[in-house]
Symmetry: C2
Subunit: 315 residues, 2 copies
């Protein structure tokens, strides 16, 4: 997106082999049909990548944030907007990812730090299909810088003032996507999936609000939007992982089948720990946790969910 707008992009990876493939072919192995357009320089040298930048865009994994930003700090603390695009919660601290970046790089970078979240498949974005996402930074000025930098005629970036909310939405939806995949693997039908998505968003919203988010943020592009895409599309990793689990694959075999990182299995642990600490009932997250880590039979989990006492819908 940025290169297509004429920005000079430097892409850093630690993987020497990947770097040479990218340099030679300009094709990301995970997106075999897309040749990157525009001015993109590939490097494995972080110091080179950080030199003279106007914006730093992070795209590693939730677990990678802390070690990568430690490396960045050792070289220089950037004095430009820092945009996080990974979706997850740090497992050890339960923190949202921009908070981890601030913790590592120091309070001085808070006002320039933000996140991009919401429903957009890389392949569709590159093909120029209409996509709408959301951005939020700790400071509104940085939010608008991120929106203006990324927005194109086919990629709309809505500003939002609730950075905590958009990060929880993007992270926690992956747990519900696993639940929907499990339901699909059990052939429970469309009605069950719609109920899982809705009640899933309900419990996500409760946890996010207990952590300082605004309720309405979770009903937006990061949260509901993400959920709509991840829980319906057979190409979502978390959804596919859930489906494999329901079909009887052990955890390790399911992960080997997917090949890429399934963030939801880490987010699930962090979310379930947070939920217990804050006393927020999260029956769907609990069920996913029990199925993935406790070996609970998925049918038994469905039965437990269906037998819970029914409360007023919004409570």
């Amino acid at each position: 997106v940025l290169a297509s707008k004429g920005h000079e992009v430097v892409s850093w990876t630690t993987n020497e082999h990947l770097a040479s493939v990218l340099k030679r072919t300009r094709i990301q192995p995970f997106l075999p049909n897309q040749v990157s357009q525009g001015n993109i320089h590939i490097t494995t040298n972080l110091a080179e990548a950080l030199s003279g930048i106007d914006m730093l865009v992070e795209s590693v994994t939730a677990a990678g944030i802390r070690p990568v930003f430690e490396q960045v700090k050792a070289l220089r603390v950037p004095d430009c907007p820092i945009v996080l695009t990974s979706k997850g919660i740090e497992q050890s601290s339960g923190s949202i990812l921009p908070e981890v970046a601030v913790e590592v790089l120091g309070e001085s970078i808070r006002d320039q730090t933000g996140a991009l979240s919401g429903p957009g498949y890389a392949e569709e974005v590159i093909r120029g299909l209409p996509t709408s996402v959301v951005a939020s930074a700790y400071d509104p000025k940085a939010t608008m810088q991120i929106c203006d930098t990324f927005t194109t005629q086919t990629f709309r970036v809505y500003p939002n003032t609730d950075i905590t909310g958009i990060c929880y939405g993007g992270a926690l939806k992956n747990v519900i996507a696993i639940a929907c995949g499990i339901a699909d693997g059990l052939s429970l039908g469309w009605s069950a999936r719609a109920a899982l998505m809705t009640r899933g968003l309900h419990e996500i919203r409760k946890l996010a609000v207990a952590n300082g988010s605004k309720a309405e943020t979770l009903g937006g592009l990061s949260g509901m939007g993400d959920l709509c895409m991840t829980c319906s599309s057979p190409t979502s990793r978390n959804f596919r992982f859930g489906k494999l689990i329901a079909q009887g694959y052990p955890l390790k075999a399911a992960l080997e089948e997917i090949k890429m990182v399934v963030e939801g299995i880490y987010t699930c642990v962090a979310a379930w720990e947070l939920a217990q600490k804050l006393d927020v009932p999260m029956p769907i997250t609990e069920a996913v946790h029990e199925i993935v880590y406790g070996g609970m039979n998925p049918y038994a989990a469905v039965e437990i969910l269906m037998k819970r006492p029914i409360k007023e819908e919004n409570q």
Copy 2:
């Protein structure tokens, strides 16, 4: 559902042929694989159907509510809970359907009148697949009566105090389902669909709130839940209708292809009129209205949507 719980059910239809088919086969022509179980008596005699009932369940169409309740009134005003299950807005008045029932049968029935809404495919419900829906009546006592009467081990009915909200959610989602069908017909991808669902729910919520609903209701089973199911499943009539329109079918030909009532095309008119009256921006509803009734090219509509100025997400 009710017959499976042991209730004595009387099913009334004006269609003599359908009544005789149902009596003979116990199979609804639209659900050819399902033989109805339990005590269900079929009749074309409304007086017989109304005699000695403990609950009246309406399942006609939005346009049928007023004439059918006029017939009911001419015979007797029921003194039991009245549950509306149609999803729509009355086109002439813009009213929610329980309001139309109260208008026809009189204020004396308000406290006993309610609605059932949310994501449940008839076929899945009958097969006993897990389903969660929502009920609300003007009086909380009636709400609980509806929940208790309908809830089974596989069909969960959540109570909600906001009858206006659940009715708007169930009705307006059909317009967004048409929009998603159009996007699918144009092969716009998963990201575009997720954005349409999210921004669609955003505008639905604004209209519903302007009419006295609570914002959170629309994020629940009627609203978000309905939307998740209707906009993802190829079996949804409104979604299929939108897809046909995008593929170039004229309005009439698309309706002939679907065969059943496509409530969204009526709701779209009512919603768009209400939106203009109340000055609520509803760009997606407006686009569907223009495509279906104004002959606008769907690609042109997408371009207009993508060129709108970007505002703060929750405004």
